[in-house]
Structure formats: C-alpha cells, structure tokens
C-alpha cells in the first residue's frame, strides 16, 4: 500500500470509522459526563449519581410508542445486576459472574467477550453478582467475585493487568462496578457475612499498583477504634459493595459502608462499630477520611448503608448548600451536608419500629428494640437496598424503590466463634409471614403475596423528607430507577414489568412485561441520533427506542 494512497484516503477512512476507534474516555469527560447524554460513562451515569439522562426524545406524550429494538441474552443464569456503560458507540456490559461483553448499542450484536473464571474459593453471600465496569482511556476495569481487579482493553477484550485485591478464601469478594476518579480506580470489598475487615482501595489505572487503602474499621490507635470491643474489629465486616459518588469541587468521594459482623449478634461487638452502616467521605487522592456519618450504630439487623449516595446542590433554608441524599436500608431518608457530614434531616419512608425517630441534632436513631419473637420493621432486606435511586434536577425529587410493611423476627443467639472464610452471621432471622421474600430470585409464580410485604416506587421531596407520590406494587421492588429531562421515570421490578411513569405525578405512562425480575437500574443513551432506554431483566438486556 503506497504512501500516496495513505495520504489520499486516510482522512476519508477515519471519517468513516466508528468514533470508538478514535475516542478516549478521559478523566475530563468523566467529570463532565452529564454534558454528553449520548453516553453512559459511569455506573450511576455521572459522579453525582443522579441516574438522570438529559435526553428528551422519549417523552410522556410518546413513551407509549416505545418498541423493543434488541435483546442480548446473557450466557449465564445468575443474577443480572449490571448497568452497562456506553462510550463512543460501544456498549460494555457484564454477565455473571465476571464476563465483559462489548456490544453494538444499536443492534445488541457483540464485538467481543472477555471471559474470566473466578476462583472456586469465592464465596459470595448472595449470588455471584457483577454490577458493571468502569472506563478510563481505552481501558475497562472490572471487580471480580474472587476479589481481583482486572484492566481490560476496551477495543479487543484482552486483559491488560490483573491484581489481587483481597483473599477470596477468607471471604472477600467484589460485586460493585469500580469508580474511576482522575487516574485511579476505586473499589471496595464485599464479605460482610464472612467476618472480613472491609476496605476501599484505589489502584493506579495504568499499572494496577495500589495507591491507597482505607479500612472501614479503624485499627488500633485510629479514631473510632474504640467503638469495637476486644478483637471484634478484626472481623467486623463493614463491607463495600455498591459504587460510591464523587464531588470534584470538594474533591471528596462518598461511599456507603455495609453492616457490622456478626450480623445479628450485636452484643458480641459492643460499641457503635464504626464505620459500619455509615457514609464516609474520602480524599480520592490519598484515601484520607474527611468525615463520616453513621446511620445505624451497633446494628443488629443487617442494615447495610451501601445505598448509592446522591449528591445535589440546592438552597437549603435559603442558603446554597451541597447536600448528600441517602435513603437507607434502615427505613429512614437522610439529608446530609456533604462538605461536613452534618445531619440536616431524616424521615422514615417505610414502616419502621426499630427506632422511634432520629435525634434532631445528630441524626442518631432513638432505639426501640422489639420484644423477642416479634417482628421488626423493616426486615433484613431493608426498606430499600442496592437498587439505584434517581434524582431529577428538573422535578427536584428523589426517587427510590422500597419494600413496604416488610418485617423479620431477629434472634441474636449466643456469641459465635470467628473462623476464617466461614459465614459469620450469628443469630437467626425468621419471617413472621409464610415464605417471605428474600434476596433470592423468585420464580414466575408469586407464592407469598403482599401478606409478607409489598413494593412501592416513591418520590421524596428532599427539602421535607415527605413523599410527593407513591406507586404501589404487588410484589416487592428490586429495580433501580432512571429519570430523564423529559420528566419520564423508568423502572422495573421483580414482577418483570419495565415501566414508565410521569416523574412529576407518578402516573403510569407505559409498561411492558419482559418476563424476568429486574435487579439493576435502567440507563439511556443515544445511537444514530435515536434515544434508547435499556434494562436488564431476567438473564437478558432489553433495549427500547421509539418506533419512528
């Protein structure tokens, strides 16, 4: 091929090539991801974790004209909790346990598949879940169920580096989508039911070298260590299994921390058990702790605080303020000042009887332990959980999926001995209802009904903590939520419906039965000028766009 041919045709070739072969997802693009709504560059859509799309093609008026454009059937029958990314014309999804698939977002056809076989030592508590990848440059980053972090070439699916983050045999796992901040990849470890000592760690994106590590349980000499008795801190859980958020102005990254262990024997770990069930604000360059806020001190109910922290800037009592919103598994909705961690507001959004309320100044729960053998609301799966919430800057409302009127009977039991790599739950969790819903997927027949609890999609006004509207579901609801600039809210549920609502009123606009439970959040992107909305249901990805 002559040089002259090259000079003549290269510009033409480049213009015809997909932009994916040219573009790089820089950290600057990640900072301004909300400005390119054609893409979906992080797990929650942007660093503020609004799970909000500025696209408006699909509106309340035409959403009924959505039609299925393609389906990607995963080669896995395990839980599908992944939110795909879309960058420069390519979709990157994960299928359980730890495969990455690059797809054409217009057709669902695959460019490549990267298969990773996790170690048999992996012992996840609740399924071999993978919630997605992160991207920087032309590299993808995947956290695996056997606690490895793997960098993958986004163009061909070949691994670039693979580092062991923690010991799977000791009960460590990773299920979250990593979060890239600047030149680092941040991950956290699951394993709260196996007596791990949780941590968040940052790795250099280029090399996989660990940059810092923040233990979510303070060690001897560190502030907060005194909140654990004896050696309980060494295996106190405090896992990190859902992706955090980032405020570039404050240069703070916010992560929700999981339950203390043993889960139900809180007498065995006297004290508040910091930083379990807390939000921590860290310097993403060093891992230094700026502040923390604990939702559930000395938790006996497995009320992880891993829910995605949602960051908003708004007037609070007449003054512009940088806020953090969190609807917690413990049943309370919280508003914090994300500069300082100061508690501003807390209101229940579901039936709660483990606490009568929150201290107005500190936000600390006013405990009301229930008598032995009686139900505690919410139950062990919480009033909400890992299901991504959404915030619409247009409506000013915070949206989340909840479990209402749902309880368990908790029995702490005697102290249990920690054994590395073995379950470290302690106690017994029982249901006051027949066959109550749990973490497991359910078959097509609902055998427990609303007698054991029900789902509700709710919209909360962050300024008051009060519900603006609620849409009741028959089954409990495990889906994340997407809102758009046209005030359409998309969500799924365990019943298999993919649904669109008016984000202002909660009115149902459209629904389709996809036949599989939904455990991840919908996302949206643009391909060839057409807006798509996508959700994982059952074992497949479903992409919809307007008929014309």
């Amino acid at each position: 091929m002559s040089g002259r041919w090259h000079r003549a045709f290269l510009p033409l070739l480049l213009s015809l090539m997909p932009c994916s072969l040219l573009a790089q997802v820089t950290s600057d693009r990640l900072l301004h991801s909300s400005g390119e709504p054609q893409s979906w560059l992080t797990y929650s859509g942007d660093y503020s974790s609004h799970r909000y799309s500025a696209l408006q093609q699909i509106s309340p008026a035409n959403v009924k004209d959505l039609e299925l454009k393609w389906v990607f059937q995963a080669q896995s029958l395990e839980k599908f909790e992944s939110t795909p990314l879309v960058a420069d014309g390519v979709m990157y999804a994960t299928q359980a346990p730890d495969d990455v698939v690059a797809l054409d977002p217009k057709t669902g056809r695959a460019f490549w598949v990267y298969h990773y076989a996790p170690s048999a030592d992996a012992k996840p508590c609740c399924g071999r879940v993978n919630r997605g990848v992160a991207i920087l440059g032309d590299t993808l980053f995947m956290a695996t169920i056997d606690a490895h972090l793997i960098a993958i070439d986004a163009k061909n699916g070949h691994p670039v580096w693979n580092v062991k983050v923690a010991d799977a045999a000791a009960g460590y796992a990773m299920t979250l989508a990593p979060l890239v901040i600047k030149d680092k990849v941040l991950v956290g470890v699951a394993g709260g039911e196996y007596g791990i000592r949780g941590f968040i760690a940052a790795y250099e994106a280029k090399t996989g070298t660990q940059a810092w590590k923040f233990y979510t349980i303070p060690g001897p000499g560190e502030p907060g260590h005194e909140t654990w008795n004896g050696d309980s801190w060494t295996h106190g859980g405090a896992s990190v299994w859902v992706t955090g958020s980032y405020d570039p102005e404050l240069n703070l990254t916010y992560w929700g921390i999981g339950n203390p262990g043993p889960d139900f024997n809180n007498a065995q770990r006297e004290g508040d058990n910091l930083y379990s069930d807390s939000i921590v604000a860290l310097d993403p360059d060093t891992g230094a702790l700026k502040w923390h806020f604990q939702f559930t001190p000395n938790d006996p109910h497995d009320y992880d605080a891993v829910q995605v922290p949602v960051l908003i800037d708004t007037n609070w009592s007449g003054t512009p303020r940088k806020l953090l919103l969190s609807a917690n598994r413990n049943g309370f909705f919280y508003v914090l000042d994300r500069s300082t961690g100061k508690f501003l507001l807390g209101k229940p959004f579901a039936k709660v009887n483990w606490a009568s309320g929150l201290d107005e100044e500190t936000g600390r729960p006013i405990l009301t332990p229930q008598p032995p053998g009686t139900p505690t609301f919410p139950g062990v799966q919480g009033a909400t959980n890992f299901y991504s919430p959404s915030y619409s800057p247009r409506t000013g409302l915070f949206y989340l999926s909840t479990w209402q009127d749902y309880a368990n009977i908790f029995e702490g039991g005697p102290p249990i001995e920690y054994r590395e790599g073995q379950r470290f739950g302690g106690g017994i969790v029982n249901s006051p209802f027949p066959n109550a819903p749990g973490v497991s997927r359910r078959g097509p027949v609902n055998v427990y009904t609303d007698a054991a609890g029900r789902g509700a999609l709710i919209a909360i006004d962050p300024h008051t903590g009060k519900k603006k509207w609620s849409f009741d579901m028959f089954d409990v609801d495990t889906s994340g939520i997407l809102t758009t600039a046209s005030d359409v809210l998309f969500t799924g549920g365990r019943e298999g419906y993919f649904q669109a609502f008016d984000a202002n009123s909660g009115a149902l606009l459209w629904k389709v039965n996809l036949g599989g439970d939904m455990n991840s959040g919908p996302m949206s992107y643009l391909a060839d000028g057409k807006q798509y909305v996508l959700i994982a249901a059952g074992n497949s990805l479903f992409a919809f766009a307007l008929r014309k």
């Binding site: 039991g413 029982n430 027949p434 427990y448 007698a451 579901m473």
Partner: protein, 273 residues
C-alpha cells in the same frame, strides 16, 4: 391401627414408617411450604420435631451420636456447629450439599423431611419425645372420599376436581403438623396466594375462583368451572380477595381418630417422582 412414633424407630425405611404411622386429618392445603413454619423461632411444630427425630435416629446418629455431640466441635443440643449457621436455610444447605473437606456428605431428602430434620435439630435440647398418634392411611382414604367429602373439591392422582389445590404430592410438600393444623383451622393455615377471589368486569360479569398468581397489574385464577383465567385489574370494576378459606374445619365433623386416619392418607401422597 394406631401406633406411636417411639415404636417406629426401628425397622422399615422412613417412608414406610410414615405410611405405617400416619396420623389423622385433612386440609385446605393452600400451598403452604413447610419451611415457612420452621422459620418462626420457638414455634417449630411438635409433629415436625417428632418426625425429625425419626430421621435423625437413622440417618445422623451413626456419625453424630444419639445426643448429637459425637463429632468434634458439633453439639446439636447446644446449637453448636462447625460451620456457622445463621438461618434454617444454612442448615438446609449444609444437609443437602455436605461440608467440603469433612466427612459430612450431601443428603437427599424431600422438602418435608428437611423441614422435620431442621425442626428437630433446632429443638433437640427441649424435645420431649412426645408420642404422635398416627392413623390408618386406608381408612383415611375412605374418609377422604366419603364422610369428609374432601374429594368433592380436592384432586388426587388425576381423580377429582381442580377447584381446590391438587393433593397428589401433599405428603412431600407439607409436614404432618401443617396438615393437622389445616384440618382444624384451614383459614389460618392457608397460603395467601390460594385465597378465593371475586372479580367483576366493567360489563358486570362476575368471576370467582382460587387465586393462582397475582402482580401489580394482573391476577391469574382457576374459576369454579376449572377455567384458567387471567384478568387485567384495570379492566375490573371490582376485585376482592377473601381471607376466609372455603374449606370447612374438621374439628367437629371428624373425630380425632378419623382426622388421624385422614392425615395418614395425606402423608402417603408423595406424587410421581
């Protein structure tokens, strides 16, 4: 012929002993899974515990001993396990999958047996080995089809109507205690999904039947004519769910001995494998 569990501890297989020993009674048998009962602390059914002791005696004592403390680090009566156990589900998993790296093998039990073993393991320290009276399965079948009038609603092995739940495998999916309770108080024992529903369409058509499934937008049922019907709730003018079972209580209409016979019959219904 009545017999006591204590008398059944030697000899025939578990299933055979059950068939010989089966108590009495019938049920509305709303799809209540036995595990649900065993999930309530302190409320494990005495009959489940009793049956569990039978299984334990034959299946588990070779390694664990009669007192459940023969394996180092394991003492069932004290609730001590080598593998941490948080829930009954954990126990179920251990029993069915075994414990890697130890001599504990995986066991194959049906749902009812698993529930009974777990009930026993959870209650070894207080188990009083009370006798559970079992009836005669043959007489129970006669009562089921005759005096009890059970067969006018329930179907067994391809015979009978489908209006009420099919009982062909009820002996595998229900525990003795649940069956006994269902005979005495069918409403309390009925799974909510099996409740009777009444729907009125916009054009005034009334549909009644037994609920099979429900979600936010639809309800699926079998109507009184054994038609499978799916209804869009948005098309209904009225939709009500009855919390009362249409099955009568047999507390007064069958004697204790007769209920034991019916229960024995029901327990013999294992379905086709």
């Amino acid at each position: 012929m009545q017999s006591h569990l204590a008398a059944k501890r030697s000899g025939a297989s578990i299933t055979q002993r059950r068939l010989l020993a089966c108590l009495a009674a019938l049920a509305a048998l709303a799809l209540l899974l036995p595990s649900a009962r065993a999930q309530v602390p302190g409320q494990y059914a005495p009959a489940d515990i009793a049956f569990g002791s039978q299984i334990f005696a034959t299946q588990c004592t070779p390694c664990h001993g009669a007192n459940g403390d023969s394996v180092a680090g394991v003492n069932f009566r004290a609730g001590q396990f080598r593998v941490p156990v948080t829930s009954d589900f954990d126990l179920r998993t251990i029993i069915t999958t075994g414990v890697a790296g130890t001599a504990m093998p995986p066991f194959v039990f049906d749902t009812a047996e698993l529930t009974e073993i777990i009930a026993y393991l959870r209650n070894m320290s207080t188990f009083d080995a009370r006798g559970v009276t079992m009836g005669d399965a043959g007489r129970g079948q006669e009562l089921f089809e005759g005096k009890g009038d059970c067969a006018s609603c329930h179907r067994v092995n391809g015979k009978g109507p489908r209006v009420a739940p099919d009982l062909s495998d009820v002996g595998s999916t229900r525990t003795a205690d649940l069956l006994e309770r269902t005979l005495l108080d069918p409403t309390a024992a009925m799974l909510p999904m099996n409740r009777s529903v009444r729907a009125v369409t916009r054009d005034g058509k009334v549909i009644t039947g037994r609920r099979l499934n429900e979600d936010t937008y639809t309800v699926e049922l079998i109507d009184e004519h054994e038609n499978l019907v799916s209804l869009e709730k948005s098309s209904l003018r009225e939709y009500t769910v009855s919390k009362t079972s249409p099955m009568p209580s047999y507390k007064d209409t069958l004697s204790e001995k007769e209920r034991a016979d019916v229960l024995a019959y029901l327990f013999s219904l294992k379905g086709s494998k």
